[in-house]
């Protein structure tokens, strides 16, 4: 059982030390570090170290297969002069901002609905989960097929129902439509994550609170704003945090649907970094693009976590 595994790991099955080890492991100051060590090791070796290397890349003129030299912040400065990069910078904020807002609002609504007594509950939950579960590389291709200028089912349906004039918008070929398209796919894919996690938060709210409020005469609206939302804040805060980070660094959707176009209007940091870093071999610049927002995001993470800690304690 659990204890024997500890023995094997720590003592190599020498029965004499069992009692002493057990006592040791019972102390917080020992158990704590022991328990976090695997995670710590994993992250130090396979994330921190590569991150430091990547940081070095971003401050060097690293090029595939050639020796590199340290050049300080030159990459970062030079990037700002590139039209494509400035456009990317703007795109990333627009993309992430709109997508996350939609996901939060729709996620809450969906979670509230899923929390109710429903017919075909299992089926409905399965359906809601589908976008999250389909392999991303393939679902994005499916969307490309849907937005395809030749066979676009979106346009076909729009025209058939009279909502659009033929031939319908050129989804992936026009600036704002393209951005709308990639945001839509991101929302489609990310909504289940929000809905299910918020649902978990909802379920954890004790029913007694609602009952007491109802007894006091509070309507559904009031119950939502004064009970549900405040109690959801910690869950929301961290879900928004994760989603913001994932959305900012999204790669697949833009890469498959628009390759960053039309005219760089949908490029995100990850896709631009890939194009310049890998496709052209300029690893240094590619790394600089990826890391451009690192200080900002680090600050956001820190701020969010302080907020969450304050909330839960």
């Amino acid at each position: 059982m659990a204890v024997r595994a500890e023995e094997i790991r720590v003592t190599g099955a020498r029965p004499g030390l069992v009692a002493r080890v057990r006592a040791l492991l019972d102390r917080e100051e020992i158990l704590g570090p022991v328990f976090v060590t695997p995670a710590l090791l994993l992250l130090l070796l396979l994330v921190a170290y590569p991150f430091v290397v990547a940081l070095y890349f971003s401050m060097s003129n690293a090029f595939i297969g050639r020796p590199s030299e340290f050049i300080g912040f030159r990459n970062f400065v030079k990037l700002w002069e590139s039209d494509a990069f400035r456009q990317t910078f703007q795109n990333a904020f627009v993309f992430t901002g709109i997508a996350v807002v939609f996901k939060v609002v729709m996620g809450i609504i969906l979670a509230l609905l899923l929390n109710e007594q429903l017919w075909f509950k299992r089926l409905i939950r399965g359906v809601v989960l589908l976008p999250w579960v389909i392999p991303t590389a393939l679902s994005t291709l499916g969307w490309w097929w849907m937005f395809n200028s030749l066979y676009s089912v979106v346009n076909w349906t729009g025209i058939a129902t009279g909502l659009m004039d033929p031939p319908g918008p050129n989804w992936l070929g026009q600036r704002y439509y393209a951005m709308a398209a990639v945001i839509t796919v991101n929302i489609w894919r990310g909504l289940p994550f929000f809905a299910i996690t918020i649902l978990a938060g909802l379920v954890a709210i004790p029913k007694e609170l609602y009952e007491a409020a109802e007894a006091d005469g509070a309507g559904a609206n009031a119950r939502f704003w004064h009970i549900t939302l405040p109690l959801l804040k910690p869950v929301l805060a961290v879900v928004v945090l994760f989603s913001t980070i994932f959305t900012f660094s999204d790669f697949n959707i833009v890469y498959v649907l628009t390759h960053g176009g039309p005219i760089n209007s949908t490029h995100l940091f990850a896709t631009l970094s890939r194009m310049i870093g890998i496709d052209t071999g300029r690893i240094g610049e590619g790394a600089a693009i990826s890391l451009y927002l690192f200080p900002l995001l680090a600050f956001v993470v820190w701020a969010q976590l302080r907020f969450v800690r304050k909330q839960t304690f």
């Binding site: 059982m1 659990a2 024997r4 595994a5 094997i8 790991r9 695997p38 090029f63 595939i64 297969g65 050639r66 002069e81 590139s82 039209d83 494509a84 490309w144 937005f147 395809n148 200028s149 030749l150 031939p167 050129n170 989804w171 992936l172 070929g173 026009q174 393209a178 890469y255 628009t258 390759h259 960053g260 176009g261 039309p262 005219i263 760089n264 890939r274 194009m275 310049i276 890998i278 496709d279 052209t280 071999g281 300029r282 690893i283």
Partner: protein, 425 residues
């Protein structure tokens, strides 16, 4: 749940640790030599199968084991190469497309001896192979085959409307107007993909223009030829094409002509061959004609492919033997080319009139008489700065701007500015 997974975790970590401690060096291969080759998934699955067959014969004849791995075209391929180069480990032989040898030059072994031998047999390699793989006097990869762009059109529609088969880009405009009226517009992409560059290049070259000069340092995009190019594209976009071309991917033009919409596209033979294989209604109507010319000559995009050997490979000689076996032995090379159904064409002078072109009369245009073939960025040598210009799609983006409202002057000025910045480094 707990103990079992902990034990499992322990064993996997233990195995990993044992791995580190015991074998930092790959196991000695012993007597048998082994090489591995990474190439892309060819348009024609049959040619991949044929290569595997030839590979097995190679092993029987020479005793060298050969492992062939495939990877997807472009994007994933470069990520893979980047990681192999960074780790200095991976495959021995790698497929190099177009100008990749320039990008990876310091990492590729010198294969001039192999190429010299092949040239003795088959005559000189074609110009675009030189452009792509012959760097500073040294061959960094062996020219393997190529698949050039060619005009693909709906012959039946042209006949029905009594349209003259175009010979120049201006002819295309004349025919294109009629085609669009018939509901079968011309399909040339103007988006962030390589097909866009593959057409914009030839048009620009045919008007005598270029992005960067031969010296690789001077930006020449701001020229009357570019103005002519843009004006051509503007009238094509207005009268012969539909706005959807702004969103096209590399596959879109194929699909457009395959399912009957486009009347004329610019593409390698993949569009026709797939239509044939899938027995689509349009297959019979599709044919090819010689690449279009302009006032300054007849230029076309070529996609030569070469085989390179990483310098870090421990089996450079064995790898060279494989190349010599595949390409150097006439029977093998012929078999391989034939299996490709005209997707893969030989790249040596004496083999240009290959039997594979006669397997279907519609391949006649691939002979490309009087056509000059180049890779992207011509005439500038594809240094990494020039490749950056290509890979950031400056040329198609300039045209896209010009056809969607930006003035010609501004579009050119933008492109010139961006190119200068890139070359300035």
């Amino acid at each position: 749940m707990g103990p079992v997974t902990r034990r499992h975790f322990l064993t996997t970590t233990g195995a990993g640790l044992a791995g580190i401690l015991a074998t930092r060096v790959p196991p000695a291969r012993g007597q048998q030599r082994e090489i591995s080759y990474l190439c892309w998934n060819n348009f024609a699955p049959a040619s991949d199968k044929k290569m595997a067959e030839i590979g097995q014969r190679f092993t029987k004849d020479t005793g060298i084991k050969l492992k062939i791995d495939h990877i997807s075209h472009m994007g994933p391929q470069q990520a893979k190469y980047a990681s192999e180069v960074q780790t200095q480990a991976g495959h021995d032989l790698v497929e190099m497309r177009m100008h990749f040898p320039w990008l990876y030059e310091p990492q590729l072994a010198d294969v001039s001896d192999v190429v010299t031998g092949l040239e003795k047999q088959y005559g000189k390699a074609i110009a675009s192979s030189y452009e792509g793989a012959h760097i500073k006097g040294v061959w960094r990869a062996v020219p393997q085959y190529h698949g050039m762009f060619v005009a693909t059109y709906r012959e039946d529609l042209f006949k029905k409307a009594s349209l003259k088969v175009p010979d120049t880009w201006e002819d295309l405009y004349t025919a294109g107007k009629e085609l669009k009226k018939m509901g079968n517009p011309v399909g040339i992409p103007i988006s962030q993909n390589y097909d866009s560059i593959s057409t914009a290049g030839p048009v620009l070259w045919s008007f005598g223009g270029m992005e960067v000069d031969k010296d690789g340092k001077t930006v020449r995009i701001n020229s009357p030829a570019t103005v002519q190019t843009i004006e051509w594209y503007q009238k094509m976009f207005r009268d012969c094409m539909e706005p959807e071309v702004l969103s096209w991917s590399d596959a879109s033009n194929n699909e457009s002509i395959q399912q009957g919409k486009a009347g004329w596209i610019h593409n390698p033979v993949s569009a026709y061959i797939i239509a044939k294989q899938r027995k689509l209604v349009t297959a019979d109507g599709i044919n090819h004609h010689r690449s279009l010319g302009g006032p300054q000559g007849r230029h076309e995009t070529d996609t030569p492919r070469h085989i390179g050997i990483w310098k870090f490979s421990k089996n450079i000689d064995a790898s060279k033997e494989w190349i010599r076996y595949l390409i150097g032995k006439r029977e093998n090379y012929d078999e391989y080319i034939m299996a490709g159904d005209a997707f893969n064409l030989p790249v040596y002078e004496k083999l240009q009139d290959h039997p594979v072109l006669r397997t279907d009369p519609k391949y006649a245009a691939l002979k490309g008489e009087g056509v000059q073939y180049h890779t992207y960025g011509w005439p500038a040598p594809p240094s990494d700065k020039v490749q950056l210009i290509t890979n950031t799609y400056l040329l198609p983006n300039m045209i896209a701007k010009a056809v969607t409202g930006t003035s010609t002057k501004d579009a050119i000025a933008w492109a010139e500015n961006e190119m200068k910045k890139i070359l300035a480094g």
